[in-house]
């Protein structure tokens, strides 16, 4: 049993490298592998090829690796914190908050006649989404300080996101076609709209978010048995919750800001990792989820390029079978 884990980590790492290479090689323009290599290493090749490989494909592949790991790790934390297999990074309303921010920018601003205002154009879609997501999570975090029962927080988060979604729908209903279309396209997710500066911001947020997640590995293991057991084993629940919320905001919030609400990765990948590694220990599950998340999102990106479909449709089609499997499995346990 134990010898399985190192082998799986090695295999997954090799798979990650392979998928990364394939992701760089595949795209709407055919570029031979040798030229991709030349473009990356600064060898002799056409300037357009260098541009395509470096600023489009490489960026997208790096975003896929980071976003996949970030969403999977935040989903894992939510599932353990809420002791609910169907929890994901968005249960607390991160994606609703982000859509609200974007809807205000893309739909609300034109309605109010502010579309040309300097404030909104510098803020951009990513900024609006991030502020929306952080605002919702801050609200939940402040309210949850007074709440002991974690289920109440879960319900609160879900109700809060439903409420925000309703407001977003009102904005959609009132909006004109052009604005509506750009909003709908944002909700489909995209790994390719990230600028170089944003890539740095994304990396910084993901690194800090993952470091925070690593710091809560022991609390998460204690929370497996529930909050009462965790407290009697010396865990400060408030501190643990705070750290987990912070990590989730940084990871899922930032990814959603730059890539849109990418669904199902955060929900399905932790289960995939549990299934592969047959473990409940977060010391194994956290790196396993990160690695699996990166692989799955790279695969989705490769497929989305091949089929020219938005990324969210593919994450959903790949994630749904896993979620259905989980539901059947947990039904047997209940």
């Amino acid at each position: 049993m134990r010898s399985r884990t190192p082998l799986l980590f090695t295999l997954l790492s090799l798979l990650l490298v392979a998928l990364f290479v394939v992701d760089l090689a595949v795209g709407s323009v055919r570029i031979p592998l040798s030229e991709v290599w030349a473009a990356l290493t600064g060898g002799e090749t056409a300037a357009t090829t260098v541009k395509i490989v470096r600023s489009i494909r490489l960026m997208k592949a790096l975003v896929a690796i980071m976003a996949g790991a970030a969403l999977a790790v935040s989903g894992l934390q939510m599932q353990t914190l809420f002791r609910n297999p169907l929890a994901g990074p968005f249960v607390l309303g991160i994606s609703s908050g982000a859509s609200f921010g974007v809807a205000l920018l893309l739909l609300g601003a034109p309605l109010l006649g502010w579309s040309g205002s300097a404030l909104f154009s510098t803020l951009g879609v990513a900024g609006a989404a991030w502020i929306g997501a952080a605002a919702i999570l801050t609200l939940i975090a402040v309210v949850s300080r007074r709440i002991k029962d974690i289920m109440v927080i879960l319900i609160l988060g879900m109700m809060c996101s439903s409420g925000v979604d309703a407001v977003v729908q009102i904005l959609q209903y009132l909006s004109h076609e052009g604005a509506l279309k750009s909003f709908v396209i944002w909700t489909m997710g995209s790994l390719g709209d990230v600028t170089e500066l944003q890539l740095w911001l994304l990396s910084a947020a993901v690194v800090v978010g993952l470091a925070t997640a690593v710091a809560v590995i022991k609390p998460l293991n204690l929370l497996l048995l529930g909050e009462n057991y965790a407290r009697t084993m010396g865990l400060s629940i408030r501190r643990a919750r705070r750290m987990i919320f912070l990590s989730t905001t940084l990871l899922a919030g930032t990814v959603t800001a730059f890539c849109g609400p990418v669904g199902f990765i955060g929900l399905a990948v932790p289960h995939l990792a549990r299934m592969l590694f047959r473990s409940a220990d977060h010391r194994t599950l956290m790196p396993a989820s990160a690695l699996t998340g990166s692989c799955v999102l790279l695969l989705c990106d490769i497929l989305s390029k091949g089929l020219t479909l938005p990324i969210n449709t593919l994450t959903a089609l790949m994630g749904i079978p896993i979620v259905v499997w989980v539901v059947f499995r947990y039904k047997q346990l209940a």
Partner: protein, 236 residues
């Protein structure tokens, strides 16, 4: 050792236990009995630092509960709750190892002495052969034993259990309480558990604490049997 001094517990406008003063000593097994909803769980939760104390003090090994930091409290009291725990992929050994949390570093790395404590706890509850099984493939009695092993691995002088026998059949109930009795006597632990099993309590426990709202009567088992308190409360 647990000392209660004029302890009053309750929630909202309901007082469950008022002015309880008694001592639960090391090396003795105590059954906590009483009708449903009279405050057995509330008392256990308060002792474990999970609930609120309205008035009075609880002293654990001499120190007032509210002055003990969480990490230190985890080295004095281990708690076994009523709820059933069924987690896929969680091996028994890993559950017991969680009990070492108060002694391990930030990421929970196990040292040699931690591993020994885990194996010893598994042997004590007679579950050494089940160490590599996962929790979702075990019976209620086996799970309960694993959770008790987790409490033992925590190496605390006090263990509290909230209705540990409730999901078990009759032979398993006796078996479990005999195990608790052995642990209390051999390891000199102070063990307190709530139960509805009057026969088991009178047959195997050293003392009995009876909640007769709002009083808490705590007597050696024989005295409790002769006092007539049990008959009065349960109208047997």
């Amino acid at each position: 050792m647990i000392q209660l001094d004029k302890l009053t517990l309750g929630y909202e406008d309901r007082t469950l236990i008022e002015g309880a003063t008694t001592t639960f000593s090391s090396g003795s097994l105590t059954a906590l009995i009483g009708r449903n909803g009279t405050g057995k769980s509330t008392l256990l939760r308060a002792l474990a630092g999970l609930g609120e104390v309205r008035r009075g003090t609880i002293r654990l090994c001499g120190d007032p509960l509210e002055e003990i930091r969480p990490e230190e409290l985890a080295r004095r009291i281990a708690f076994v709750a009523t709820e059933r725990i069924r987690i896929a992929n969680l091996r028994c050994r890993d559950v017991v190892a969680l009990g070492r949390a108060p002694y391990t570093n930030w990421i929970g790395r196990m040292q040699e002495q931690d591993r020994e404590a885990v194996e010893q706890a598994l042997v004590q509850v007679g579950m050494a052969d089940y160490a590599d099984r996962t929790l979702d493939r075990m019976s209620d009695g086996e799970c309960q034993r694993i959770l008790i092993a987790r409490a033992l691995a925590q190496a605390t002088p006090i263990i509290l259990l909230d209705e540990p026998t409730s999901f078990l059949d009759l032979p398993n109930r006796y078996e479990l309480v005999r195990l608790l009795r052995r642990l209390a006597h051999e390891e000199k632990k102070c063990i307190l558990f709530s139960t509805h099993e009057l026969e088991i309590a009178t047959a195997l426990c050293d003392t009995i604490a009876l909640v007769d709202t709002p009083h808490l009567h705590h007597l050696p088992t024989e005295e409790m049997q002769q006092s007539g308190l049990i008959e009065r409360l349960f109208r047997i």
